[in-house]
């Protein structure tokens, strides 16, 4: 039986990226510090995966200032949302197939 692994998105292979995307699916926007706290990861780790998602054009970055403190907000793009949904569908398909086996 052919297992549709190719439908799984390579960009979401990393767990943290998938988690970031889930948060941005449930919220219109989310800031860097809240993300860091929620996911319990280091600055560098989070930043590099955010960069990766940004390069795929799955998320948009908004930089602004709250008083003097820089505030970076992230938002999922339409492309990112579609990719996330497709990835979830693929995961679901995998489960269904394995149940049949």
């Amino acid at each position: 039986m052919k297992i549709p692994f190719e439908n799984l998105n390579k960009a979401f292979e990393n767990r943290l990226r998938l988690q970031i995307m889930s948060v941005l699916m449930a919220n219109q926007r989310y800031d860097f510090n809240s993300l860091k706290e929620l996911l319990g990861v280091t600055d560098g780790n989070l930043a590099s995966h955010l960069k990766g998602l940004e390069k795929e054009e799955y998320i948009m970055v908004n930089k602004s200032f709250l008083g003097r403190k820089p505030n970076t907000n992230y938002e999922a793009t339409e492309k990112g949302k579609t990719a996330f949904k497709n990835h979830l569908d693929a995961l679901e398909q995998l489960i269904n197939q394995q149940k049949i086996k």
Partner: protein
């Protein structure tokens, strides 16, 4: 990937989507305590209004005289309730290793503050113009609207508390003279019921 792994992945996604968008450190116990403060406050106001009053005298003048004491009592109840709520939420969040100050709690605060500040100003205006009878319904209705506004970002049960407060407020508006009774019912009894339900459902 094994089926177990995929299941874990999906569970983690679901929990993150829930946790990131909802403020779930709200404590049921805080609701019960806020209700008790409100009942004590209502008791004090009742005592102020009826103690040693001869009703053949001018009751309106009496109300104006004790107004500062009533406002101080109401503010004390408000401040105590907020302080208890913040403290218990802080403790509950700490127990779960979460932070109280996140994206969701900001949303809760913002969505509550708009109707609350509007209602607060309307109450001040009513006080200033002498419409004392409308204070109780206004406070209940705007508080209910604030709860409904916040309910998208916390336990959805908060919505029902909000609806009950609005209903109580509207009934109060229909029955002038019973403001204090309904105020005690809304802020006191409803909070205690809601807090107990929340405590049994989520805190244990």
């Amino acid at each position: 990937m094994k089926e177990k792994e995929i299941q874990d992945e999906l569970t983690s996604i679901r929990s993150l989507m829930e946790r990131s968008s909802k403020f779930i450190s709200l404590s049921g116990l805080a609701g019960v305590l806020a209700g008790i403060y409100a009942l004590i406050g209502a008791g004090i106001v009742f005592y102020l209004m009826h103690w040693g009053i001869d009703y053949s005298n001018v009751p309106f003048l009496h109300l104006v005289n004790i107004l500062p004491a009533i406002i101080i009592t109401a503010l004390a109840v408000l401040i105590l309730s907020i302080a208890t709520g913040v403290y218990l939420s802080y403790k509950k969040a700490g127990r779960r290793g979460q932070s109280i100050w996140g994206s969701a709690s900001k949303q809760v605060l913002f969505n509550m503050s708009v109707p609350l500040v509007t209602g607060g100003f309307l109450m001040l205006i009513c006080l200033h113009r002498g419409y004392f009878g409308i204070i109780a319904p206004v406070s209940l209705i705007f508080y209910g609207l604030a709860l409904i506004g916040a309910s998208n970002f916390t336990f959805s049960d908060v919505k029902y508390l909000g609806l009950c407060q609005i209903l109580t407020g509207l009934i109060t508006a229909m029955l002038p003279g019973y403001g204090l009774v309904f105020w005690a019912l809304g802020f006191g009894v409803l909070h205690i019921i809601y807090g107990s339900v929340m405590y049994l459902k989520y805190d244990r």
